[in-house]
């Protein structure tokens, strides 16, 4: 499902002394099946932006078109929209409320008036997608399981609605490296195997660099940079001025190039760096 955002402006508490512009003339397009990373420091407008994409906020100005349907004005479309654009908030496990894992994940599908069989099928599928064992966990209280598991229950609750677009706001915040890698791996599979359109909001350049097709960088309520990871990461000074950082490995490559070493510029993962340095050293010894 494609998303088109045209000249989107959002002003909080307009007309009051607390008026503040959270989004200022933002335009971009996301293609069906794309995996996009959204970065920016706290207060840059990225959370305000994603809340527009499933109709939680309405633009002050501008248009949003999802799957060729203008969602800006038509309030009738909001049920359709929330079903198709799933939004996983920051710390989504704080929103768990049911007595069992099963009931919590089933809450959304039940509200779609689906049959019990269909609800059960969806809960099973959603749990499988996030790597939770159905039989051993379905009857547990969501408050007795580990933090990483709780987060996956919350994500499963969104997946059980079978959205076409999945937006995740900092899905790995506060998780340890193992929990983070598991969740990112599952998100990657949703994109690869199910063809879902994914928007990942993250502070971690390392995670973004490994996963996404394209990066949108927000700063001061506007889009500051947009493009493939290697394009965006080449703007080191601008990113640092915005309080963002490039992956550590990109600093190494930059340092090497400044010292006159023959390595390509657009490298931002450990694998790529190792390959480039080996190629450089071996090329030298063969010469």
């Amino acid at each position: 499902m494609s998303i088109v955002v045209e000249n989107l402006t959002h002003v909080y508490m307009k007309g009051s002394p607390f008026e503040s512009v959270a989004l200022d003339d933002v335009s971009f397009e996301i293609q069906d099946g794309e995996f996009v990373g959204l970065i920016g420091h706290t207060g840059s407008g990225k959370s305000t932006l994603v809340q527009h994409l499933n109709g939680l906020l309405k633009p002050t100005k501008g248009r949003i078109i999802v799957d060729n349907i203008d969602i800006t004005e038509r309030t009738k479309s909001s049920k359709w929209l929330r079903q198709h654009v799933g939004l996983v908030f920051q710390y989504p496990e704080h929103q768990l409320f049911e007595e069992t894992v099963y009931l919590d994940i089933a809450f959304g599908p039940k509200n779609l008036n689906l049959s019990n069989d269909e609800v059960e099928k969806r809960v099973r599928e959603a749990m499988e997608l996030v790597g939770l064992d159905y039989d051993s966990l379905k009857d547990r209280s969501p408050f007795e399981i580990s933090g990483g598991q709780r987060r996956r229950v919350a994500i499963a609750g969104v997946l059980a609605m079978k959205p076409k677009v999945l937006i995740l706001d900092e899905p790995t915040a506060g998780l340890d490296p193992k929990g983070r890698d598991e969740i990112l791996g599952q998100i990657k599979d949703l994109h690869r195997e199910r063809g879902m359109t994914i928007i990942l909001v993250s502070h971690s350049m390392e995670d973004i660099a490994k996963l996404v097709d394209r990066i949108i960088v927000m700063n001061n309520s506007r889009i500051a940079l947009m493009g493939k990871p290697e394009e965006v990461f080449s703007h080191v000074d601008e990113l640092q001025e915005m309080g963002l950082d490039i992956p550590q490995i990109a600093h190494v490559i930059r340092g090497l190039r400044e010292r006159g070493m023959d390595v390509p510029e657009n490298i931002y993962t450990v694998e790529q760096a190792a390959a480039a340095i080996l190629a450089m050293v071996r090329g030298r010894s063969n010469a």
Partner: protein, 278 residues
Amino acid sequence: MELMIEVKDVQFDYLSYEGQEVAALNGVTLDVKKGEFVVIIGHNGSGKSTLAKHFNALLKPSKGVVLIKGIDTRDEDMVWEIRQTAGMVFQNPDNQIVATIVEEDVAFGPENLGLPAEEIRIRVDEALKTVGMDKYANSAPHYLSGGQKQRVAIAGILAMRPEVIVLDEPTAMLDPSGRREVIETIKYLNKHEGITVVHITHYMEEAVDADKVIVMEQGKIVLQGTPEDVFSQVEVLKGIGLDVPQVTELAYRLRVEGLDVPQNLLRVEEMVDAICQL
């Protein structure tokens, strides 16, 4: 050198969901010297927070002994003495702030020590200045960023004039700039105020400048030493699901491929130098 924290063969048992007794800590021995900066790393469930809670008598060992400046944490009469010596900062800044004005929040601890008002004023002003939050003394905490709130929480501990500060994942819920603020504050306290720091984290980058790094897994210490020593054990760290800094991982991969780079590289400049010398 004087020992601030001594942990001797400590075991801590708790009852699991299934009703079984589980050892969250199992034979842990370590010590922290006065003025040291110690980082404890481990993933969730490794026992690192349980260990931290032993450092100010929030938990007491099932077996073994914990001494804080020579005081046994099992001694009920000395609990306040211990908590004044070792202050704790937790993960979520919102759970630690109790007042509606920043300076009142920082004053909460000293007020409970029954100090005279003038002394409290001095301590609060000093503490806020030390963490760089003096400008916000009269602000409401909920208007502050996560990093700022966490610095207020640290100021609240500082106003108690502790000799040790134990920080349990203080950066886990912060964005990169908030994380940087808090780390710089902690380093400042250690270097310039002489406060002993125990910093618990799962961000490896935060351990690079420590005097000592302790790696926990399944209630035990699996590695202990300088950052260089610990991070050179790339395989052990990866085996227990921990990250190493990208630079260290690159060094590891290049060594596997037969290039002659040192394994104990931690910083970008060191890596660049090493490759330029090939």
